[in-house]
Amino acid sequence: MLSRIAESLFWIGRYVERADGTARILDVHLERLNHLPLEEQRSVARALLAVMGARPQSEDFGLPELLHSLAYDKQSASSIAGALSAARENARRARETVSSSMWEGLNTTYYGLNQHRKDVVGTYRFCNWVLERTAMVRGLADSTVSHDESWLFLVLGRSLERADMTARMLSTRDVQSAGMSWVNMLRCAGAYESFLRTRRAAFGDQHAAEFLLLDRLFPRSIVFALRDADECLAKLDPSAQRVGFINDARRIVGQARTFLEFHRTDDLMSELPEHMERVQKAVTQASDAISRKYFNQADEHAWVGEVS
């Protein structure tokens, strides 16, 4: 398939997952933010924005500005609306490759972005709507796109972004001065029920973090997402079966996953910030390596002489 199309699919996967993850984080934190005194609210809003990888536009940054930059700002790819617009734009560029129902799903989502009230209450509804729409797009992709190379790029983007988003979710724990309760953290990832059923009586910060970081069966845990990404990469490049890897992306993803999976610790909570930082870094590096290997067009428009 065309490199350009592969790149579009990869980014559709990433952007849709980003919108989903951001909606989850925003939804959970809004509740707490509302209860805080104004001054604290502002500092928490700034910190939250920093965790999502953006910087405040102006000095005067409070709750309404936070809503704008995480939910409604179409210009910024770290907001929900921005990510969904970007996903739709990518689908438009790869429209002959994605299935028409998936394209329509993204397109109608894009046109629905403006139909929400942009206050706090409206944002709750907006976040819910985004979760529904992204789930629908994922479902349509799974059931209407052939699970060939194009689908692998889509899933690759999705799983890398998912690892990144879960890492950010866990990082937001430190943002709230009172600390976010582990219940909320699990709710954020939609993991509450799964966690309760697996861990039964054992609960607390440590176990919740462990679940989101290391659980091998919960699909939004970091280890699970990295394993998914690893599998996609292996299928995309079946050449290096016996020894070693010629693919940087596989090395990066694989190292991150295995370190987490086989790491032994007694004090996960104090190590957590480092883990989160390294996971996010690995995702960025892997994404770069994938671009270099599959999408790179640095020599575009180069004049190639007539000699063959």
Binding site: S3, R4, I5, R95, S100, V304
Partner: protein, 518 residues
Amino acid sequence: MSELFQGYSEAAARSGAYDEMFAPGQLARKSYGQVAGALSELSLADVTARADSMARTFLDRGVTFDYAGEERPFPLDIVPRVIPADEWDVLERGVAQRVHALEAFLNDVYGRMSVVSDGVIPRQLVTTSAHFHRAVHGFEPAGGVRVHVSGIDVVRDSAGTFRVLEDNVRVPSGVSYVLENRQAMAKGLPEAFGQQHIRPVEEYPRRLLSALRKTAPSGVDDPTVVVLTPGVFNSAYFEHTLLAGLMGVELVEGRDLICRGNRVYMRTTAGEQRVDVIYKRIDDDFLDPLQFRSDSMLGCPGLVNAARAGGVTIANAVGNGVADDKLVYSYVPDLIRYYLHEEPVIANVDTFRLEEKEAREHVLDRLEELVVKPVDGSGGKGLVIGPDASKEELDALRKRVIADPRGWIAQPVLQLSTVPTLSGDRFGPRHVDLRPFAVNDGDDVWVLPGGLTRVALKEGSLIVNSSQGGGSKDTWVLADTPQLPAEALPRQTVTVREQVSVWPVESNWRDRQTDQQQ
């Protein structure tokens, strides 16, 4: 007839044009019987609700064109345009004939130029055309076809006669709307389809793909076809994606291609892959920075050389623009007689060549009664309609015509035929044209039954281009022999198919179990 048609006959009489649906006296023509019947059952609320839902579907599906950087849905009117079989027969023959003639003309112009040496047209006519590209002179394109796809615009004058308005053999667009309109209409006005057999349009992508594959460079067993688009900001981007999708081929941009050793390759995740046929949806000027505009980022350097060496088929061939020149258009009837030894099936619109002194003086005296068009314009750009123009516009036009008489032609104002079109709370007559699409695979010219009917949505307006507020209509060509007999026969009972069994015989433990239970 329902109140939706109130005041229609008066409005139709005002315009003086031929109405496609009603004969004088507000009687529906025979071909429109079903449509008229279906519409008379509907109230205003029904019609508006259906029109809204059709528009909404178009937006959701992304059936849009780009206008000033904004995606707009292409307005589709709820009343179809119906063409009876006998009229279509003439159109089909006329379009195919014209494509054959233009194909022969282009081959000649980029070769021996016998049409000039035999005195049919002046040499100057060709050499002064802005789209006569010397870069492609002197070789026959791989596959031997130049006009793979064409859109010959035809209109109907006030007497009801079809006439050719212009030829588009460069990059004719609009066929995607033909395909989408039919789907939308099947949901929007299902009653009107009724018992009649309307000729289907969905085979177009198949026909196009097979024509493109057939004209691949020789020696290629399984040719790779791609659609070359200028990119997502092109006004027809939707069409490019739709055609590539329906043909199941890659949609490439210039930056995806690379020319090496007179072969063309595309960059894929598995390395470079040879491309044999390029369905080009980009203007010649931007195609190859080595030959044409050197600042173009849309094309790919080396394409023209590759085509010259026979390493790739470009469809439509580079340099076809000379046949679109409106001054060449005025010679097409002569070209048909010269190359095919036939009389033209569809006549041209009378055209004044402004280089001829007498014609020019005559035209300059009557500018306010005529339409004046630039010879290389498209999309209704630069055209001046005398009766609608102000005195200043006409004066400016006069100066430009005198300065460059080769650059303009003049035609009488045609009252294009009208079809009822929803406007506000009722139907009014609106002017339409028709662009039938033809696919040429080298042996055969196939004309898509129907084509794109564009409609000017403003009352009295004669400009149907989408960039200037035009919409479209689904175009129905009725089949000659209805598939269903006139009287419905008692339905045959469906013959039950004999059951075929290929699976291994089931082990019968379950049967035994049920036996035991009993």
